[in-house]
């Protein structure tokens, strides 16, 4: 039993350190590890997050990965990494990095007051004075 514990420590401590250095919570990766993959060298990939302008915070759920430009490592083929870019005065951007190979993610940040330049922006509905009086009439009833 002690031998097994020692073997476990020997094999997995370097993995844990790698994950911490990477700045990504690799907990789910470890849960996925199996005897087959533990026996061989584990491959990692680099995800480079960048934005224009730079300096945006990159959040992976509740964990701040850093501010752009930032690079993190992740176990290869461990599934995509969904992140949020945040920068004061700009709209939040939800993006994704892939882990089947090294990946470069570049995001263009849009100032809040330029939201109308984006696909999907809806011009707000205007209410005419006539409609307002109609609504009032409905309320009266």
């Amino acid at each position: 039993m002690k031998l097994l514990l020692a073997l476990g420590l020997l094999l997995l401590v370097p993995l844990a350190v790698t994950a911490q250095d990477a700045g990504v919570d690799d907990g789910d990766d470890e849960a996925a590890a199996d005897a087959g993959t533990a026996k061989k060298a584990i491959e990692h990939v680099k995800l480079q997050f960048n934005s224009s302008p730079s300096g945006a915070e990159v959040w992976y759920g509740k964990k701040l990965l850093g501010t752009t430009p930032v690079t993190v490592t992740r176990r290869k083929d461990s599934g995509p990494v969904d992140v949020v870019f945040k920068l004061g005065g700009y709209l939040k951007v939800n993006s994704r990095g892939y882990t089947w190979a090294d990946d470069k993610i570049h995001v263009k940040m849009t100032p809040v007051d330029q939201a109308s330049t984006l696909l999907g922006y809806k011009k707000p509905l205007e209410t005419s004075p006539d409609e307002e009086s109609d609504l009032d009439a409905d309320d009266d009833r």
Binding site: A19, A33, D34, A35, V93, S95, I105, A115
Partner: protein, 734 residues
Amino acid sequence: MRIVSSTLLLLTLLACQSRSASDPDTPPAAGETRPRAAAPGSGHAPVELPPLGGAAPASAGQAAQAVAPEAPASEGPPKPGVAWADAADIPESDRVLLVVDGEERILTRAQAADAGYDLVSLRDDWVPYIFEPMNDAEGNELPNRYRRIFVGLANDKMDGDGRPLNDDEDNYLEVFGIPPAIGIIYKRFIEDEGKACHKAIDYDMLSRHERVVQRSGRSSRKFARELAKHQKAVDAAKEETGISDLAALRKAKPKLAEAIDFVRKAGEQNLVLTEVEKRLDCDDHNHPRYKHKPGELDQGLRLALRRFQRKHKIYEHTNLRGETMKMLGMRPVQTNFLDLERAMTERVVAATGVLEDGTFPGKKVPTYTGADGKEHPLRNLVKEFTDAALVQIGIDTPEKALAFMKRRQPHDFRWLVAAVRFPEKPEYYLPHMELEVEIDRGDVFYDPPWTEEGDKRKQYRKRLPKYSLYTTYRGQKIRLVYWPTTIGGWRAEVAKNGYEYYAYKQSYVGDRVIKQVIAGPTWVPPETTPLGSLAKRRYINGKAQGVVNYGEMGPGYLSAYGLVAGYFNTKNGGDQGIRVHGSSDYMSILSPERYSHGCHRLMNHHAVRLYGHILRHRKLTVDGDIEMNHSRQFYWEGEVYHVRLPSRGFRYTLDPPLPVTVLEGNLRGGRRRPIEGLVKIPDKRYPKDEEEDGEDAPPASQPAEPAAPGSTSVKPVIPVPALPAPSTRKDKDA
């Protein structure tokens, strides 16, 4: 804490080494090959799949020597191979199961090939033909991004994004075209056998009832009132007569027959419902978050039923009737056997390339004239070949299948392939088959589905769209399959102003061709796609955040194009955005009231079989993974979503292309031509300028999905091989 948990994890893994060794994600040992014959029709050989066994490979010759027939002469003619228990000397990668007179023997692959057997994979790393490894001209394997995820999904190891799944999670994706791995079905057989809760379920009662009436709202309240009234009368009669048995009471009080029948029937339905709940509980479908109240036909029960239906490939709404009720009344050994039979069907289809599944219009079985001048009926090859495999492997009844599973270990499904001798294929099976597609649009309504007053207009279709694949043989068109499909109709679209309108999405009539087939395709949403469907909230690393709905875009079983798609081109090469593709929205294919955006959807498992057959029986170029690097941003509810699609999928180019004819169908309603452009949705408010400009709506941002990039690959066209010799030789697969 991380180190402690990691250590615990390792200990767990070491303790379960034999189980985890069967993990299909474990990469193969380098240099090993799986003997596999070239597909005779496609002109290209699948890559020799490396085995997953850890043992060193032996050459076919060495292995053959090691397992020379050795049965004693006194027991009749020697049986081939060695007994299962004596197969330790044969590397797992070289073992083939052959059942001889009920005895499980192990052959080497060389022995199986020499004896003319086909191989059917029972391995956990099985994929359908469209995802099998393919080589380029230099013999290098072309990467296929989705294969690994397909295997992970079938083994309940991954979610659709390729993220690891918790041990207690099940995928149940058969309705979406991904049958469970045989190792998963093995687990179901073994676990159900040991579950005491199944013994407490009254399966006889369940199987006697064809339906439980589900009521909601007003009808539910009315039923409760009536029951209370009748129950009161029955209780009073019981007290008056002292008779508690309802049948005896009915004789004694004939005037109360209606009330007594009502009470008895309601009581029976409640008992059935209790058994249904027990069945769903025992099968682990009643998740606490469903919040089901016992005895209630509520949403929680529907969610549990949905899981049950998905587990057993039932294409129905979540009601207690039809196939759902039938399956609930079956004992687990029966349902598990049916699961196994269906999973084996897909493997047999992949191994042999057969397609005919007994579907044809009308009741009379179609025939064709053979070279012998005689009429031959169209055979249901899928059933014939599957039955042959089940019988020869010795798993053709629930009891035999259970016994087979009890003799196995989870590790066995890491290597298990079985030798099967299939029936002869029909003579029209040729390396390059003259195939063509016909789509009958069925009943077509061009009128908007609402009246001028904005009320819903009934447009019920009796004749639904159908997909047919024909082969031409000796001057005859032989229909191989006849499947339900979809056509386009009225769908919501986003205009440049960001507001949604209706547009009639056409399924164009006339001649087309399919040049490209893409396995694991991605769908690039046109700018007219309602954006609400492209964004969602999801818990990521402990916090809810916005994510692009990649499930819709793929690659994946839920994507708009399903697991595989064939791309239509007009005669001059134009792309109108129409495809014949797999779809997870199976109810849209079965419903007389549902429409696509113009594409012809097929059940995912049909699409997988179809394109597997086409790729094996047509000349083609294997282009491999097509990089796309599509990137786009859109705005939704105050946030920006950055769409990133790196690949278009794994592409095959058919040469010559596959001819397609789309028939006009039966035009119904008042309009003879579809309305072009966008139409305001009744009762929806629009910006003032659009309301005043006298026109219906602003132009759509983009008419359709951008055309797939042309075939720029310089990969060689793989020639059609020569006709096979007239023997029992079939397509080989493992």
